[in-house]
């Protein structure tokens, strides 16, 4: 398949996943604030600033808004078209990528994505957002899940589909670490939290809910919320579809499906780096994370995701292009030699 097409499918899928995860994280924080009493400006900023940091756009945010109020942060993350990672921008990018490869995707998928885009840009979305933010975020999440379902159920599971898998799982793994990082302050620099306050418990159950992990957590650990167990679930669980390990395993599968190289072998750096990362997650443990310090460990994971992404780009998407001027010269030389 064309490299450009693979690239578009990868980003389309990634941006859909990004919009969904941003919706999850903002929604959860809004709901969490309902449980907290005596909110003043600084408490509010303490709650909202980490959310902005989780998207990695804190510098851009602070340029535009003096303080991290709920209004400012949600504006920035939801409807701000100047923020490239806002929900509206992510959906627009997903749709733009889809449009470039309109011939490669099913009509069902395109129409649903286009509908979401038109809705986000029209007055209905803002109206719903003002009436009930939760309904609004549910709408985004549901549409994203519908899109994932359409991709799964209406697409031929061919090379292009695998590139969409890669985009989805890489983005999801990355976002899980960022969501965990939102509350890394619960943890001391190294080791597990010593005491857990009621608000810690509330915050960490919000984290679990934003990853749709609350039920999985209760089934595995019971009703008591301990931050380190939540970390364990979201990093290492083998079967939970929003754990980092699960995502990396699927990512690894997709990479091998693309190259046709059997598992446990590799034909390019992306497969090698991904295979090594998977082994680390398969054989890693919570104790290691705590010994390393949560924040540092998450940073390291994000760095490794980026490495895989870059290696993937080099292996499949990027083939040494000459720039246009150079290419013109090359062609003229070749023509003169004839």
């Amino acid at each position: 398949m064309l490299s450009r097409v693979a690239n578009c499918l990868y980003w389309m899928s990634r941006c859909i996943e990004r919009a969904e995860n941003t919706a999850r994280i903002v929604d959860t924080n809004l709901q969490l604030l309902l449980d907290i009493r005596n909110l003043d400006d600084s408490t509010l900023a303490e709650h909202w600033m980490p959310i902005v940091q989780s998207t990695g756009d804190d510098a851009e945010f602070l340029e535009k808004y003096p303080r991290a109020t709920g209004q400012a942060v949600t504006d920035f993350l939801v409807f701000d078209t100047e923020n490239p990672n806002s929900i509206v921008s992510s959906i627009a990018q997903a749709r733009e990528n889809a449009r470039m490869v309109r011939d490669q995707i099913t009509s069902d998928l395109w129409e649903e994505l286009n509908r979401l885009y038109l809705w986000m840009r029209g007055p209905d979305a803002r109206y719903m957002w003002q009436q009930s933010p939760t309904d609004f975020f549910t709408q985004i999440k549901n549409t994203s899940l519908l899109l994932l379902g359409l991709i799964y159920a209406t697409f031929v599971h061919n090379e292009g589909w695998q590139f969409m898998q890669v985009g989805k799982f890489l983005e999801r793994a990355d976002k899980i670490t960022r969501i965990l990082d939102v509350r890394h302050k619960t943890f001391p620099e190294k080791g597990a939290p010593v005491t857990i306050t009621q608000s810690d418990a509330l915050e960490w159950s919000a984290i679990l809910r934003s990853c749709s992990a609350w039920d999985a957590y209760k089934a595995a650990y019971g009703a008591e919320v301990r931050p380190e167990w939540a970390v364990e679930l979201l990093l290492f669980n083998e079967e939970f579809p929003r754990s980092v390990r699960f995502c990396i395993e699927k990512l690894n599968d997709a990479l091998h499906a693309i190259s046709g190289v059997p598992a446990r072998r590799y034909s390019n750096d992306a497969e090698k780096l991904c295979g090594r990362l998977l082994a680390e997650l398969e054989y890693g443990s919570l104790d290691e994370v705590l010994a390393h310090g949560l924040h540092g460990y998450l940073d390291l994971l994000q760095f490794k995701f980026n490495e895989v992404g870059e290696a993937l780009f080099n292996a499949y998407i990027f083939q040494p292009f000459l720039n246009l001027e150079d290419e013109i010269l090359v062609q003229q030389e070749m023509q003169q030699q004839q």
Binding site: L2, V5, R99, R102, S107, W110, N114
Partner: protein, 464 residues
């Protein structure tokens, strides 16, 4: 709807539609618009910073052509595309038509799109215009006349296919009982033609569609056709030329390409040969084409046949190459570069339509009777400064067709017809074509960029 005056071939349709109330009709019409918007069947409006996409407005009342009329149109179009191809072969080779004094050499040599670099070059299978979208109008007496030949990259065929799909979804029962000829096979015919022109010796040619990209106004059509044909849609940057062969960049390395259905004008194809500032083309493509390793549809250099001055000579071409009378006549045309005509044109600007020789899409045009004195004066200056670049035609009263208004009533609006001819092993014309309609009352401009809409075109198996 029109009562007593309904022509016989409209009767069945009228009976079927008459059972609908106005609100029902409106509801179905809105459902179709919504479906088009959702499916992204839109075009981009140039010069609009917001990148606005609009649907091409669709009028649900179909235009109907009886078998007898269609046979006449089809024969006329085949005759015309045959003559145009013979003409293009001739002017890029022996130039007999010039030597025999039928067309003055000046007009060809001064043609903006005449590619003298391709003199003597043999195009694959000797076909120049593979896809032709000729614009036809009906005059007050009901005769079909040719308004212009679009022999470069005519667009609009996707609307033919999508309009039909929308009509079938909305009125499923109607087609069989009325006896409407299908159009759905266009993509297969197009692919067959593209495979036919592949370079010699390539058993299973790889065909691609070359698009300027997602921001082109016809991008929807490009992806639509590529998908229907099951071929790759590529941009210039997806292709690379090595050793005079064209390859596309894929995730598995470079793969050879044999036939390119290009939706890019000559000027942008190859920055090493034509416009150097073109970011859309492929460096080296023309060299690969000249070496016979890749075929292009349409061929390079067909733009000269789109020149509105050349249009004037098409009836003579038909006579000269085929020794036949034109089946579909031209609209009477005056050439500003002929002294007598020029005098007539500038003295009668208030009665004439003036067109620039190499513009399309309704741009560069003066509708004399409706223009202001200043507009007419501006055109007069322009014509006198560069007569070669202008032609004039009397204002033809385009035929009208009942068309739905915003308030749910129906009124006559001006229409034209663009059938699409494919020239491969033989000439194929999908029955009907794109009927464009000027939605503004009294307007004669049907272009999508200027307030035009479209209708489904039904060619009947019979005459009623």
């Amino acid at each position: 709807m029109a009562g007593a005056a309904t022509r016989p071939h409209y009767r069945k349709m009228r009976d079927a539609f008459e059972s609908l109330t106005v609100p029902e009709f409106s509801a179905r019409s809105q459902a179709v618009d919504l479906a088009f918007m959702r499916q992204g069947i839109t075009f981009n409006v140039y010069g609009d910073a917001q990148g606005t996409e609009r649907i091409f407005p669709f009028d649900m009342l179909p235009r109907i052509i009886p078998a007898k009329e269609w046979d006449h149109i089809e024969a006329g179009l085949k005759q015309r595309i045959t003559a145009l191809n013979l003409f293009l072969h001739d002017i890029y080779h022996e130039q007999r038509i010039v030597k025999d004094g039928v067309i003055p050499p000046y007009y060809i040599l001064s043609g903006k799109h005449f590619r003298r670099e391709f003199a003597g070059f043999n195009v694959p299978k000797d076909i120049y215009i593979h896809i032709c979208g000729t614009d036809l109008i009906r005059d007050a007496d009901g005769n079909y006349l040719v308004l212009e030949d679009n022999g470069r990259c005519p667009s609009g065929v996707s609307y033919v296919l999508e309009n039909r799909r929308a009509m079938k979804r909305t009125f499923p029962g109607m087609f069989e009982s009325i006896g409407v000829r299908p159009v759905e096979h266009y993509p297969q015919e197009l692919l067959k033609m593209l495979q036919y022109i592949a370079p010699a010796g390539v058993a299973e040619p790889t065909v691609v569609l070359l698009t300027p990209g997602a921001y082109n106004s016809a991008y929807f059509e490009h992806t639509y056709l590529a998908r229907q044909m099951g071929i790759e849609i590529v941009e210039g940057r997806d292709l690379v030329v090595r050793d005079s062969r064209v390859f596309m960049r894929t995730t598995k390395g470079q793969r050879p390409v044999h036939v390119i259905y290009r939706r890019l004008d000559d000027d942008f194809l190859d920055p090493t040969v034509f416009r150097r500032d073109s970011q859309l083309g492929v460096p080296g493509l023309i060299n690969a084409y000249r070496s016979g390793n890749v075929s292009l549809a349409n061929s390079i250099g067909t733009g000269i046949a789109d020149d509105k001055v050349m249009y004037y000579f098409v009836p003579r071409m038909i006579k000269y190459y085929l020794d036949q009378e034109p089946i579909l006549p031209n609209v009477p045309t005056y050439l500003a570069s002929e002294d007598a005509d020029k005098k007539y044109i500038v003295e009668n600007l208030d009665k004439l339509v003036v067109k620039a020789a190499n513009e399309s899409g309704g741009y560069g045009m003066l509708m004399g009777p409706r223009a202001s004195q200043k507009e007419r004066d501006d055109f007069k200056t322009a014509i006198l400064a560069d007569p070669r670049n202008y032609i004039a035609q009397p204002m033809i009263s385009l035929s009208t067709h009942p068309t739905r208004q915003d308030d749910g009533t129906f009124e006559g609006r001006h229409i034209d017809l663009r059938p699409f001819a494919l020239y491969g092993e033989k000439i194929t014309i999908v029955p009907g074509g794109l009927t464009r309609v000027a939605l503004r009352k009294g307007s004669l401009v049907v272009n999508s960029s200027q307030g035009g809409g479209s209708k489904d075109t039904w060619v009947l198996y019979g005459d009623e």
